[in-house]
C-alpha cells in the first residue's frame, strides 16, 4: 500500500487548521465556533499521525488518542455551557453576548 506522501498529509492538516481558525474568527454562532475548534483539534491530530507515520513511531498515534479524549471532554463541557447559555439568553451570537460588556 503506497503511503501518502508526508508533505501532502501536513498540507491537509494545515488547510484543515486554517479552515477551522477561519471558522472560529468568522462564525458568530457559538455552536459553530465550537465545531470549528474541533476541526482545528483534528488538524493537529492529523499532523501527529502523519508525523508518526513519517518516522515510524507510535508516539504520534498515542498523542492522537490523548487528543481525542481531551476533545471529547472539551465538547462535553462546551456543549453543556452552550446549552445553559441558550436557556438563559435564548441567543448564541457571541458578539451580542460578549460585546455589550454585560456578564
Amino acid at each position: 500500500m503506497a503511503s501518502v506522501p508526508f508533505e501532502y498529509g501536513l498540507a491537509v492538516a494545515g488547510i484543515l487548521f486554517i479552515l477551522g481558525l477561519a471558522g472560529v474568527l468568522v462564525r458568530r454562532n457559538l455552536l459553530f465556533i465550537l465545531l470549528c475548534v474541533e476541526i482545528m483539534l483534528n488538524a493537529a491530530g492529523l499532523a501527529f499521525i502523519v508525523a508518526g507515520a513519517r518516522w515510524g513511531q507510535a508516539d504520534g498515534q498515542v498523542m492522537f488518542i490523548f487528543l481525542l479524549s481531551m476533545a471529547a471532554a472539551e465538547v462535553a463541557v462546551g456543549l453543556a455551557l452552550i446549552l445553559l447559555l441558550y436557556s438563559r439568553r435564548k441567543d448564541l451570537d457571541s458578539d451580542a453576548l460578549g460585546g455589550s460588556g454585560r456578564s
Binding site: 481558525l21 468568522v26 458568530r28 457559538l30 465556533i33 458578539d95 453576548l97 460578549g98 460585546g99 455589550s100
Partner: protein, 664 residues
C-alpha cells in the same frame, strides 16, 4: 483607696456625657453635669487626701493598678494610679481650682453658643490633668500630657469662627508639640535603658545604675526638661502662651492656674531623681527659669491687652518655679505652683469680669476708672495682684516666693547672682502688676482710645472677641447691666473663695522669719527630698534678704503708677501704641521671639514646603500615573469582550511567535 480611680474618671465621665448628649440637654443640665462632675471629683480628691493624711501608707505612696496596658516581653506598662504627697497636693489644686473655674463659667459662658461643648472640653481638660498627676507610670502620664495639650488646643480655639483664634490654637498645639517630641524621645530612652516606665522604679533604677553627670542621665533629664519647657511655656518655647489668650477667660484661668502649664513643673518634680543625676541640666533649668522671669516680666510691662499682661506674668511666675527646680528646691516649686494657682486664677477670673463689663474690650487703655464701676471685682483683683507681688495682707505669693529666693541664695556662690536677678524679677513683677492695676481700675473711664484702630493696639494683634457672636453680645447687655453692680453671685463666689485662699495660702508654709510653719515642705518630704543645701544661712541674713525683696516689690508700686501715667498719656494723646518708643514696642512684641521664629523657622519651612510641592519625587510618581493612564487609553479598545476578537488576537500572536521562532 481602691476608689481612687474615681478622681480622674468622674470628669472624664462628665466629658463623655456632655460630648454625646450635650447638644440636646438644657443649659442648666449641662452646667450641672459639667460642674458637678468636677465637684464630685473634688470631694473624692479631698477624701483621698484626707485618708492619706490620717493614715500615711507605708513608703509614702499608695499605688492602685487598674490593669496591664501593654505586655511586650519584659516591658509591661500598667495603668496604675499613684497617690503620694506630691500628687495629693496636685489633685487638690487641680480639682479645687478647676471646680471654682467651672462654677464661674456657668455664669460667664451663659448664652454662649457651644455651651455644652465648652463644658465637655473643660471636663476633659481637668480629667486629663488628673490622670497626668495621678499616673504611676510615665506612659500613662504621657497620655494625660497629650490630653491636656489637646484640650488646650480645643479651648484656645473655642471661638473658632475667627480664624485668628484658630491660628492661636494651632500655634499652642504645634509649639508645645516640639517639647512633646523631646519628652517622648526621653521616654524611649528611659524605657530602653531601664526597661521600665514605672516612675518609682525608674527613679530607683536610675539612681542605682546611672552615674551622676553621665551622658545618659544628662540626655534623659534634658529631654524631659524639653518637654516641660514646651508645656510650661518657658524659653525658648514660650511663644504660644500669650497667644493662648484667644480663648475665653475661664479657659485662660484653667490653663494658667490648675492645668497645662503646671504640668511641666510637676513633671520635673516628679522625675527629680533623674535631674539630681544631671547637675548641668539643673543649672540649665535654673537659668531658663530666670531668663523666663525677666523676659516675660519686661514683655508684660508693655502689653496693652489685659489678658496678655497676665499671660506674660504667668510665664514669669513659672520661671520662678523652674528656678526653684533648678536649685533643687522641689517643694518650693510645688508650693509656688499652689499659691500661683490661687492668685493667677483669681486674676484671670476677675479680668474676665472686667472684660465682660467692658463689652469684650481687652485694651487696658480703653478701660480706666473701673474701681468705682465694679468695686467688688476691683477688690478681689487687688488681692490677687498683691499676692502676685508678694505684698501683705496676702501671704500666698509672699511665702512661696521667699521660700524659693532663700533657697536660691543658699544654693552656692552662683546662687547669689541668681538671687539678685530674681529680686530684679520681683521688682519688674510689681511694676507691671501695678501698671495694669492703675491703668484698668484707676483714674477716669477713658472709653475708646484716641487712636482709631482699637484692634491694632494689641501686641500680637489678638483683638477682643469679634462682634460676630450675636448671642454673646445679647448676653453682654444683660451682663453689663449686672456688672454695673457686681460680678453676680455665681461668678462672685469663686472670686471670694480664691481671694481668701490668696490671703491665707501662705500659712501653708510661712518662712522662718514669720514664725515658720513648713507644712507643705514637711508634707512633701516623703516624695520630694529636701534637696541639697549648700549651707543654711543664719536667720538674720534671711530677714535682710526678705526685706530687700519686699522693698523691691514696694518700690514697684510708685514706679508702676508712673509707667501707667506715662503710657496712658502716650497712647491716648499722641496717636496710639505706634507712637510709643521703640524699646516699648520691642517689649510689647514679646522681645522679638515671634519675629525671630517667624523668620528663622516658619518662613523657611513654608518656603521649603512650597518648593517641595513641585519636587522631583512628585514628578516621578505623577509620571508613572500619567504613563499608565496613557497606556490604558491606548489598549482599552483591545478589551471589547468579543470572543472572536480575542481568538483572532490569540491566532495572530501565535503566528508571530512561530514566525519569530522560525525566522530567528
Amino acid at each position: 483607696m481602691s476608689w481612687m480611680w474615681l478622681i480622674p474618671a468622674l470628669p472624664l465621665l462628665g466629658f463623655l456625657v456632655l460630648a454625646v448628649l450635650g447638644r440636646s440637654m438644657h443649659w442648666a443640665v449641662v452646667a450641672a453635669v459639667g460642674t458637678g462632675s468636677v465637684g464630685l471629683s473634688m470631694l473624692a480628691a479631698v477624701a483621698a487626701v484626707w485618708g492619706f493624711w490620717v493614715s500615711p501608707p507605708a513608703g509614702g505612696s499608695v499605688t492602685l493598678t487598674l490593669w496591664d496596658w501593654v505586655r511586650a516581653g519584659s516591658f509591661s506598662p500598667s495603668v496604675s494610679l499613684t497617690l503620694d504627697a506630691l500628687s495629693a497636693v496636685m489633685i487638690l489644686v487641680v480639682t479645687v481650682i478647676g471646680f471654682l473655674i467651672h462654677l464661674y463659667s456657668v455664669r460667664f459662658m451663659a448664652g454662649e453658643e457651644g455651651y455644652s461643648r465648652f463644658f465637655a472640653y473643660m471636663n476633659l481638660f481637668v480629667g486629663s490633668m488628673l490622670l497626668l498627676v495621678l499616673a504611676g507610670n510615665l506612659l500613662l502620664l504621657y497620655l494625660g500630657w497629650e490630653g491636656v495639650g489637646l484640650c488646650s488646643y480645643l479651648l484656645i480655639g473655642f471661638w473658632y469662627s475667627d480664624p485668628e483664634n484658630g491660628r492661636s490654637a494651632r500655634k499652642a498645639f504645634i509649639v508645645t508639640r516640639i517639647g512633646d517630641v523631646a519628652l517622648v524621645i526621653g521616654l524611649f530612652l528611659i524605657a530602653t535603658n531601664l526597661g521600665s516606665l514605672d516612675i518609682q522604679e525608674v527613679a530607683r533604677k536610675a539612681t542605682a545604675s546611672w552615674a551622676p553627670g553621665s551622658a545618659i542621665a544628662v540626655a534623659a533629664a534634658a529631654l524631659i526638661l524639653g518637654g516641660a519647657v514646651g508645656k510650661s511655656a518657658q524659653l525658648p518655647l514660650h511663644t504660644w502662651l500669650p497667644d493662648a489668650m484667644a480663648g475665653p477667660s475661664p479657659v485662660s484661668a484653667l490653663i494658667h492656674a490648675a492645668t497645662m502649664v503646671t504640668a511641666g513643673v510637676y513633671l520635673i518634680a516628679r522625675t527629680h531623681a533623674l535631674f539630681v543625676l544631671a547637675p548641668d541640666v539643673m543649672t540649665a533649668t535654673a537659668i531658663i527659669g530666670l531668663a523666663g522671669v525677666l523676659v516675660a516680666g519686661f514683655s508684660a510691662l508693655a502689653q496693652t491687652n489685659i489678658k496678655r499682661v497676665l499671660a506674660y506674668s504667668t510665664m514669669s511666675q513659672l520661671g520662678y518655679m523652674f528656678l526653684a527646680l533648678g536649685v533643687g528646691a522641689w517643694s518650693g516649686a510645688i508650693f509656688h505652683l499652689v499659691t500661683h494657682a490661687f492668685f493667677k486664677s483669681l486674676l484671670f477670673l476677675a479680668a474676665g469680669v472686667v472684660i465682660l463689663a467692658m463689652n469684650h474690650e481687652h485694651d487696658i487703655f480703653a478701660m480706666g476708672g473701673l474701681a468705682r464701676k465694679t468695686p467688688y471685682t476691683f477688690w478681689t483683683f487687688l488681692l490677687g495682684a498683691l499676692a502676685l507681688t508678694a505684698l501683705p495682707p496676702t501671704t500666698a505669693g509672699f511665702a512661696s516666693k521667699e521660700l524659693i529666693l532663700s533657697r536660691v541664695w543658699e544654693s552656692g556662690p552662683g546662687g547669689r547672682i541668681l538671687w539678685v536677678l530674681g529680686v530684679l524679677g520681683v521688682f519688674v513683677t510689681s511694676v507691671y502688676t501695678f501698671r495694669l492695676l492703675f491703668t484698668v481700675f484707676g483714674g477716669e473711664p477713658r472709653g475708646a482710645p484716641a487712636h482709631g484702630s482699637g484692634r491694632g493696639a494689641h501686641g500680637g494683634g489678638h483683638g477682643p472677641k469679634p462682634a460676630a457672636h450675636g448671642s454673646a453680645a445679647g448676653k453682654e447687655g444683660l451682663a453689663a447691666g449686672r456688672d454695673g453692680r457686681q460680678a453676680g453671685v455665681v461668678m462672685g463666689v469663686p472670686l471670694a473663695i480664691l481671694a481668701v485662699l490668696c490671703i491665707v495660702g501662705g500659712f501653708l508654709d510661712l518662712p522662718r522669719t514669720l514664725g515658720g510653719s513648713p507644712f507643705i515642705t514637711r508634707f512633701l518630704e516623703t516624695s520630694l527630698p529636701a534637696g541639697t543645701r549648700a549651707g543654711e544661712m543664719p536667720l538674720s541674713t534671711d530677714s535682710i534678704l526678705q526685706i530687700v525683696s519686699e522693698a523691691a516689690s514696694l518700690l514697684g508700686i510708685p514706679v508702676g503708677w508712673l509707667v501707667s501715667r506715662r503710657a496712658i498719656r502716650v497712647v491716648t494723646q499722641t496717636g496710639g501704641p505706634a507712637a510709643r518708643p521703640a524699646f516699648v514696642r520691642f517689649f510689647s512684641g514679646g522681645m522679638g521671639f515671634d519675629w525671630l521664629y517667624e523668620r528663622a523657622i516658619v518662613r523657611p519651612f513654608v518656603w521649603l514646603w512650597n518648593v517641595n510641592k513641585r519636587d522631583a519625587a512628585d514628578r516621578i510618581s505623577d509620571g508613572v500615573g500619567g504613563l499608565s493612564m496613557l497606556l490604558s487609553r491606548a489598549f482599552r479598545w483591545t478589551q471589547n469582550g468579543r470572543v472572536r476578537w480575542y481568538a483572532a488576537g490569540v491566532a495572530v500572536g501565535a503566528a508571530l511567535v512561530i514566525a519569530a521562532a522560525v525566522l530567528l
